[in-house]
Structures are given as C-alpha cells and as structure tokens.
C-alpha cells in the first residue's frame, strides 16, 4: 500500500481580496523509503501543501476537499486528538527558519526530551537525556552531552537546523516533511544538511517530502519530483526524466534557473 496518498486536495484561502486557491486539486503519492521533492516558485502553493498534510494551514485557509490518506487513514477527517498523535509521531516536519523554530527560553535537551516524551511512552524522565544525546550525535552534533545543555541562541544556524532534525526524528517517524530546510543557510552548510537528510533517510528507512524552489537540490537528493505552479502539479516523474525531457513550459523555465557548472 502507498504510504501517503493525496488525492485531489484543495486548500483555499477566503480572503477579503477574494478566494485564493493555494492548493487546487493536487495528487501526490509517497512510497516507503522514498524521497520526493515538491518544487515550485514563491506562491506556487508548495508550503501550503506541506502544511495541509498535517492540517496546520493558517487562518483563514481551509482544506475544502480531497483526501490525504496515510496508511489508509484519511487525515482530513481525523479528529484533533488522533491527529496530534500523527503530528510529530508518525509524520514530522522541519521548517525553513532554524533561527526562530526553537523556543528561546528552554535548553536543547529540554525541547528534544519533550518531543521524545510526547510520543514515545517507553521513555521516562530518566531515560530521556540518554536518548537526547543519542539523537544529537546521530545528526552530527559534536560533544552532544555538553551541547544539549545549551540554549538555542548559543548555537549557529546550521547547528540549530540539526537540532530541529533531531527533534523531528525523536519519535522515529514514517514521513519527514522538510519545508525548504536549507534556504536560510549558507551554501556549504546547505550541502551538509542535505547530505545529512539523505543519509538519515537511508539509515532510518523513512520517506521524505522535500519542499524547495531549487532544482539543484532536487537533483542532489530526490528520487521523484512534483513541479507545482499556481496551486497545481504541472509535471511529475522521476528526477532524471524531468531533468532531461521537461514537458511543461514552467518546468523548463525553472530548470533554466539552475546554474550550469
């Protein structure tokens, strides 16, 4: 069975300026252990698509129709209490801006243990620090036992994004949604984070939905790609095929923006 199967999803924003169809009839499927990229320009609806999966669409946005079936369960119809178990438990998400995605008043340890204790009842307060250190070393943070006592403002952007990844992986999710996780980082750190996500994907066998505007990143990490424009999927397929034989005009334009080395 397909791990995640999105069918004809529509997320609309009823604003004073009129109805904005941010996601307008999108189909997307994700198999176990696969990295799928969703690529598109600003305003193409890719982030709203990602937020729709966890039903985190900000006001006044609403999922008006469609189905998001995870392991056969339709997330759109799931009650809030059940949905909370999926969020961060089965499907985790990391965000674009690592500088503001951590709560500034708590230590790293505090925040990662929270993520562990929320979803995994086999850990208690005494076992959590060990697991926290383990997660931090898995995402490549040197000296994790010392670093986990730090507050977010004491870490660099790349380190914070690693912490965010560790937090997202705390519950061993089936799916990781990464919403432009490298956009706010500089190029060398970008490459490290991409490599980390790709290697963790193989190691943990999870599926990844990678949201980005950068076709260069798609080529580096993804197996399949969906190209989004104006809330619709204009083209999809294996990364190699789309790169070599783009069919849609918009895809061709996006590909033309990738610098040739």
């Amino acid at each position: 069975m397909t791990l995640l199967d999105i069918k004809n999803l529509r997320t609309y924003f009823d604003t004073e300026a009129g109805l904005v169809k941010a996601v307008d009839g999108v189909d997307l499927s994700l198999e176990r252990g696969e990295i799928v990229a969703v690529v598109g320009g600003s305003g193409s609806g890719k982030t709203i698509l990602a937020l729709s999966i966890l039903k985190l669409v900000p006001e006044p946005g609403k999922i008006v129709s469609g189905e998001i079936s995870y392991n056969g369960i339709d997330l759109v119809k799931l009650p809030a209490s059940e949905l909370r178990k999926v969020r961060g438990g089965k499907i985790s998400m990391i965000f674009q801006e690592p500088m503001t995605a951590l709560n500034p008043v708590f230590t790293i340890e505090n925040q990662i243990s929270e993520a562990i204790l929320t979803h995994d009842k086999t850990f208690d307060n005494r076992a959590a620090p060990g697991r926290t250190a383990e997660l931090l070393s898995m995402v490549g943070i040197p000296d994790p036992v010392k670093k986990m006592k730090a507050y977010p403002n004491e870490l660099s952007g790349g380190m914070r994004q690693r912490v965010m990844i560790a937090m997202a992986l705390a519950s061993k999710p089936d799916i990781l949604i990464a919403d432009e996780p490298t956009t706010a980082l500089d190029v060398t750190i970008q490459a490290q984070i991409l490599e980390l996500i790709a290697s963790l994907q193989v190691k943990l066998g999870m599926a990844v939905i990678f949201i980005t505007h950068d076709f260069g990143i798609v080529a580096q990490v993804a197996h399949r790609v969906y190209v989004m424009h104006d809330g619709r999927v204009v083209e999809s397929g294996k990364v190699g095929d789309v790169f070599e034989r783009p069919k849609d005009d918009y895809t061709k334009k996006l590909l033309a923006t990738v610098p040739v080395l």
């Binding site: 966890l54 985190l56 900000p58 006001e59 909370r84 178990k85 999926v86 969020r87 961060g88 438990g89 985790s92 998400m93 965000f95 801006e97 503001t100 995605a101 951590l102 709560n103 500034p104 008043v105 708590f106 929270e114 993520a115 929320t118 979803h119 965010m164 937090m167 997202a168």
Partner: protein
Amino acid sequence: MVWHQLKRNKLALTGLAVIVLLFIVAIFAPMIAPYNPNAYDLDSVLKAPSLAHLFGTDDQGRDVFSRIVFGARISLSVGFVAVSIYITIGIILGAIAGYYGGWIDIALSRLIEVVICFPTFFLILAILAFVGPSIYNIMIVIGLTGWTGVARLIRGEFLRLKSVDFVSAAKASGASDFRIIFRHLLPNSLAPVLVSASFGVAAAILVESSLSFLGFGVPPYVSSWGGILSESREYMDVAWWLTITPGLAIFLTITAYNLLGEGLRDAIDPRMR
C-alpha cells in the same frame, strides 16, 4: 540576561535594595520594633523624635517608629497579594483571548474595555462601602479591578507569538493547546508582565494608603501608613514627625518599585541595548 542588564542600572538596583530592606523589616517587624505598636503610654504623648522614640510618639503615646515598621507588613502584603490576584486573572483571560481569537477574543476584549471604563478608585470605594473595610477586602477588590492591563499585555504577546516558528513547530510535533500555551507562549510573554507587576505593586500600595487615609482601609487599631498619616492631620502644626515619617515611608516604597519597574522595562527592551 535581564539580570545582567539590570545590574548596570544603579537606580533600579537602589530600588531593588530598598524593596529587599522593606521585606526584611516587614518579616522581622516584631524583632525590629522597640515597642508594641498599639501600646498606649499617656505619659509620653506627642513627643518629638528622640533616642527613646526614634520617630516620636502620637497623640495616644504610641511609638511611631514601631507603628511604621508594622505598617510595612500591611503595605507590602496588600501590594503583593492584590497584584498576584490580578496577574493571575489577567494571564488567564489574556491567554484565552490571544490564543483562541475569534468571537472569544472579541467578547473578552469588550469586557476589558468595559472594566477599564470604570474609575477604579471610586469603584473600590463603593465596593468597600458595601462589604466593609478590611485588609482582605482591599486586596480582593484591587485584584478584581486591576487585571485589564495584564490581560491586554498577554493577549498582545500571544497574538504576536502565535505565528512565530517555534509555535508552529510545536504544533507540528503534536503538542496540545495546553502545552503550547503554558510551555511555549507563556514563558516567552512574561517579561512585560514583570514590569507591569512592579508598577502595579506601587499603585496598589498607594491605593491602600489612600483608602486608609480616607478611613475605608484597615481598621484604626491596625497600624498602616495611610492610617498614621490620616491621624496626623489634626496635629500637623505641633507634631511634624507624625506627617513626615509615614509620608516618607510611602514615598520611598513607591519610588523603589517604580525605579525597579523602569529598570526592568529598559532591561528587556532590545532598543535600549
């Protein structure tokens, strides 16, 4: 971080020192006061300050210094309890309004505006006229009328923080509303409340002194600064110490809290760095 900033502000530190000193005085009042504050001594009525009576005596021969020392208990406890009550109410209502938004926010915001419209001091006078003057009633009434400022602060901070990334991240990781409010939103919005509390304690002490001065405060046999000041009116031209000493005590306390409040405000304001 706030403490580091505050340390460089001499005035705020002085305020803090005065407040700490006042607390020590209030807690150890029975040991510090040389006389029973309510002991009449008709042989020494309206005596000027001397070594035996540091701040002199009043018209019934009671030691003014001892009365002021015990009065610190009333002032500080009214200030603290009243402000604690209204901060609690303000946080709860402000948090609900800011977090849930929509019609709940509209209803609570209108309620805040209605309560702000009442002239607080006269409302307190009116309520105390019904329920009778006592220190507990003063605390409760100030607490029930003073929460609007805190509620507005918390509501504003919640509205701002609600869309900050770490709150979205917490939601995405399956945190409940309760957890988001108490772990992620509240700790990040308490700093302005701290400032408001410092000013609030000063205001509450002033209200209590004013009420006692007008005779609506604590009963006359309990020594409070406003009460001493009130009794001194008749003897102002013969016994200056009766007016000056409680007046100075009120002035010093209010100033100390206001200086601390201003220091805290500057310390948490990033534009001041």
